[in-house]
């Protein structure tokens, strides 16, 4: 029993900070992040013997964190999941500069939880839409429509004038 405990504990000790960062970008505030992490680790504890044999406790934990976060939202409000699938591709240029945009961070907090989760998985976790769909247990079409809606909302509230002008000229 102790061996299992130590392994689980090692996992928690070594990964807690990274998971808390993930929780923080998912939830947008430190208290919810800590809560989400704790709740997910409790679930992981119960599932540990199963999970550890399946090689990827971290992936499992990240998945329950994302799902858990959304399910809390689901209980609070309902949203129609039917959306249109946007055309076009998303370009994901490599990230060279890590700049903080407080306005964008604030706009993120106004998004419904699932939309935010989709963006976090796509742009923080660098997941493909297929991976996001598997992680959240929703269809790929929904992933794309949720992402498109979220980006629309962000774009409306986000006004980097110079960059917009630059993007128009490059198009």
């Amino acid at each position: 029993m102790d061996d299992d405990g130590v392994t689980y504990e090692e996992f928690v000790t070594t990964r807690a900070q990274t998971l808390l960062r993930y929780g923080y970008v998912l939830t947008g505030n430190p208290h919810d992040a800590a809560d989400l992490l704790q709740e997910s680790l409790v679930r992981l504890r119960a599932a540990w013997p199963r999970v550890v044999n399946k090689r990827d406790p971290e992936g499992y934990t990240r998945t329950i964190m994302a799902r858990q976060h959304i399910s809390i939202w689901r209980r609070r409000r309902r949203e129609s999941l039917v959306g249109e699938v946007p055309d076009g591709q998303y370009i994901e240029p490599g990230l060279d500069r890590a700049e903080h945009d407080p306005r964008l961070w604030e706009l993120l907090s106004a998004l419904p939880r699932r939309q935010r989760a989709v963006l976090v998985l796509r742009y923080y976790e660098d997941m493909s839409d297929a991976e996001i769909s598997a992680t959240l247990g929703i269809s790929r079409g929904t992933v794309r429509s949720q992402a498109a809606r979220a980006l629309d909302k962000l774009r409306t509230g986000w006004h980097p004038a110079a960059e917009r002008a630059e993007s128009r000229s490059s198009r």
């Binding site: 808390l20 992490l37 409790v42 990230l95 962000l154």
Partner: protein
């Protein structure tokens, strides 16, 4: 179509992640507690189900046996053994945990000297400056990346103070500290606080004590809208025996009065939300302790009053428990200063009786255990001093998780060494070191 926006989004998320708080040092403890409570509830339901479907008493017993009785803390199950382990050779901290070590400036921009208190997030260091020796006059943040300082507040020093602002502790968006002065022949302890977002410092509460000159607030912590603190000192009317007067509380927003938390006589604050009893109150407690005595054996959760008791292996010596781990060591030989005699053994075990081990530090000639409060730093690292054969005294941190040993401060060329501010951080997350490479910060939250 979206590339500037998505790039900005990536940058914002990545930077925000860096600002995430550090995990609570007692995270594991909290998770285990929640897991146990849930399992108990589930075992109750499972037992009922078994009864219905099987009706077999054997099955029922085994289900119940696997759950923990709520009335019986986990600690009373039989503690595991103390396994002998060998501690490896110390590795310089910069090599062992490079991701945890960051350079600190000698002085703040503008040239003022400072003390590091704790990290508020990955990059924001809480610091204090002093107008004269130990007389703190300002609390600021210093951004390790941008190297900018921002003032949080000034710390007024009440006239007649003999212990200046100390014990800075952070929680609930505030910072709190204490000062001491004499009034009418009695020691008065005042608790002060200020919003972390910046603003004037205000008085939270005051208490008066008939305690000796060395009486002070042992620890102070903030949580659930309150400041909690515990005192230790010799009672002037009781033959100089150290005693703990219990845990006090007052609303951190100010405007309230201090009161003793009921039933906490003999308890000391560990870290929100934990207090422990019987508390270690004076520097000589460990020497006076009876064999088998366990300091902080009872751990109490301030949020709900729930307690658990440590269940530990029997040793010749006294245990000293923090939130998760307990530490003990064999009594020091009498002719200690000569450096001869047997090498003392050190013992570690978790409160719940798991993870027990015994070892001889370095296997070297001798080691000097720091007595401090008996805590592991960050609920994980055992700090100690050692003098390996042929070497000179150095500061080390033993990692209970990995068994690694980091040397955090090695003697400098002139023979001096220093690990300053080893335990100034109430969260015990940071260790500040003066090394040959300059002033360094070790962020224990970054040790993977």
């Amino acid at each position: 179509m979206n590339d500037e926006l998505t790039e900005a989004l990536k940058g914002t998320l990545k930077t925000a992640a860096r600002q995430a708080p550090a995990p609570a040092p007692d995270l594991l403890h909290q998770v285990h507690g929640r897991h146990r409570r849930r399992r108990r509830a589930q075992a109750g339901m499972a037992a009922a189900a078994v009864l219905v479907t099987l009706g077999g008493s054997g099955a029922l017993t085994s289900v119940l046996g696997s759950a923990e009785d709520p009335a019986r803390p986990a600690a009373q199950s039989k503690p595991g053994p103390l396994k002998a382990v060998t501690v490896g050779k110390p590795v310089p901290v910069e090599r062992l945990w490079p991701q945890a070590v960051r350079p600190l400036p000698e002085r703040l921009p503008g040239g003022r000297a400072y003390r590091a208190i704790t990290l508020l997030d990955d990059d924001t260091l809480l610091v204090t400056t002093e107008s004269s020796f130990e007389k703190t006059d300002q609390i600021l943040t210093y951004d390790l990346r941008t190297r900018r300082t921002t003032q949080i507040t000034r710390t007024p020093v009440p006239s007649g103070s003999d212990l200046f602002p100390s014990g800075f502790s952070v929680g609930d968006g505030r910072i709190a500290w204490w000062v001491r002065y004499k009034q009418g022949g009695r020691h008065t302890v005042e608790i002060w606080a200020a919003p972390l977002s910046g603003g004037d410092a205000y008085r939270v509460a005051a208490t008066q004590h008939d305690l000796s000159e060395d009486a002070s607030v042992r620890r102070l912590t903030i949580g659930g809208g309150k400041v909690y603190w515990s005192m230790a000192g010799r009672n002037t009317s009781s033959q100089g025996v150290y005693e703990s007067q219990g845990v006090y509380e007052a609303p951190v927003s100010g405007g309230g009065t201090a009161r003793q938390v009921p039933g906490t006589t003999g308890f000391q604050v560990l870290a929100w939300p934990w207090i422990g009893g019987p508390g270690l109150t004076g520097p000589m407690d460990a020497e006076r302790a009876k064999p088998g005595e366990v300091f902080h054996r009872t751990l109490r959760d301030l949020r709900n009053g729930r307690t658990t008791k440590a269940g530990l292996a029997t040793i010749k010596g006294s245990w000293n428990c923090g939130i998760t781990w307990c530490v003990a060591h064999k009594s020091l030989p009498k002719q200690w200063s000569g450096g001869h005699g047997p090498v003392p053994e050190t013992y570690l075990q978790r409160r719940d009786g798991t993870g027990g081990r015994m070892f001889r530090m370095l296997g070297g000639r001798r080691h000097l255990m720091q007595r401090l409060d008996g805590f592991l730093a960050y609920d994980r690292f055992l700090p100690y001093m050692a003098e390996p054969a042929g070497g000179s005294v150095q500061w080390l941190l033993y990692d209970t998780q990995t068994g690694d040993v980091a040397s955090v401060a090695v003697p400098q060329d002139g023979g001096g060494y220093s690990a300053i501010g080893l335990f100034r951080d109430p969260a015990e997350r940071i260790v500040e070191v003066d090394s040959v490479n300059g002033r360094l910060l070790i962020d224990l939250a970054k040790v993977s």
